[in-house]
Symmetry: C2
Subunit: 220 residues, 2 copies
């Protein structure tokens, strides 16, 4: 058992993609990256996430931690002497967890349906997703980041989905910039951070990848 940190992730994953990478980068934690297509159930994936068999999986000192938001909490607790991800005040922390859970529970399903389905299913998903974007735009308001002045937990959780925004806009036929100006300015501020820009996949490659998946899903 060593002190090493290993991350199993998959470059175009929508499931919290980038989230854990951003947190590790903010903390300055070096890690070994293992590209892991979750559709190929490798023995390492099955062994380290036997319940969900999903990425990302964080392995630290030979022990696995699953689920992006739980990984954020773990990273913040273990490397507590560097950049704080969660606020220290219990109420502010509860608020951060609330919005993290909102993104975790509400975003994935309508997002993939916007680029991966057609017809009524796509229309319903788009409506739902736009409502969630609106909720997040309202919650952000005139704050710099979701927690206030400091980049943290909710920003990391939401920026984990950023690489897919362009694909969602393209297949959903809407513009985040036109409809959600505050969110747009916020993404620009987040993208100024090395931790963010170095952790995310290229949006254009994600669009190409979404085209391939759409065909596989029969949506072309």
């Amino acid at each position: 058992m060593t002190d090493e940190v290993i991350l199993l992730d998959y470059w175009p994953s929508m499931f919290g993609m980038g989230t854990t990478k951003i947190a590790l980068a903010e903390k300055g934690v070096a890690y070994e990256y293992k590209e892991t297509d979750p559709r190929v159930k490798t023995s390492l994936l099955i062994e380290t996430n036997p319940i969900h068999k999903k990425i990302p999986v964080l392995i630290h000192k030979g022990k696995q931690i699953c689920e992006p938001l739980i990984q954020l909490e773990y990273i913040d607790e273990v490397w507590s002497d560097t950049y704080p991800i969660l606020p220290s005040d219990p109420y502010q922390k509860a608020q951060a967890r609330f919005w993290g859970a909102f993104i975790d529970k509400k975003f994935y399903d309508p997002s993939w349906k916007v680029w991966g389905t057609t017809g009524e299913e796509q229309v319903t998903a788009k409506k739902e997703l736009l409502e969630h974007f609106k909720t997040l735009e309202t919650e952000l308001g005139d704050k710099t980041y979701y927690g206030g002045d400091v980049f943290g937990f909710v920003d990391i959780a939401l920026m984990g989905y950023y690489s897919w925004f362009k694909a969602i806009e393209k297949f959903g036929e809407f513009s985040i910039e036109a409809e959600f100006p505050k969110l747009t300015q916020w993404t620009k501020r987040c993208l100024e951070r090395d931790s963010v820009v170095n952790s995310l996949a290229d949006s254009d490659k994600i669009v190409e990848y979404a085209y391939v998946l759409r065909r596989k899903l029969g949506a072309e």
Copy 2:
């Protein structure tokens, strides 16, 4: 703004019912209980949980905390000098959070479908729910509680659903005792605690309540 603690909850709620009450009881925190039927969108419910409009809502010093698992974390942090709900070790904490999230995400939907639907929908839900029970039976193994020797986070999260177990067994036509002996012994151990037994609704009343809901849902 006072130091008072208020809990908006609804006696037969399946959504984490009992969870927050058990935690407050373990901590010895006195609170004002406000019975709140979530189908009646009272101004207090809308004001304190504007995003989900669901119970339970915990109000402390005039500020609201929503979602049962987030409430558990908050209660553990604010009243940190009494009974600990989460372990202090980051890895053990991550494990507790993982199983809490598993229960939070996986249990509600198949549970209500077992007592609230019929035919194929009910059959599918029952199969799914039994798989989840099996997963939880395996995870428990020969441990006394989910975290090991000490009653804590995962025990509280799962016992929040206990009042509904009888209704689920009745309409799902299966026996937890016959199929999941370890889980059964575990529930008996948990029910020895005052914090648990005083926080849960009467299982027979829940069965009666489920009959009423089934009729409303057209499942009778």
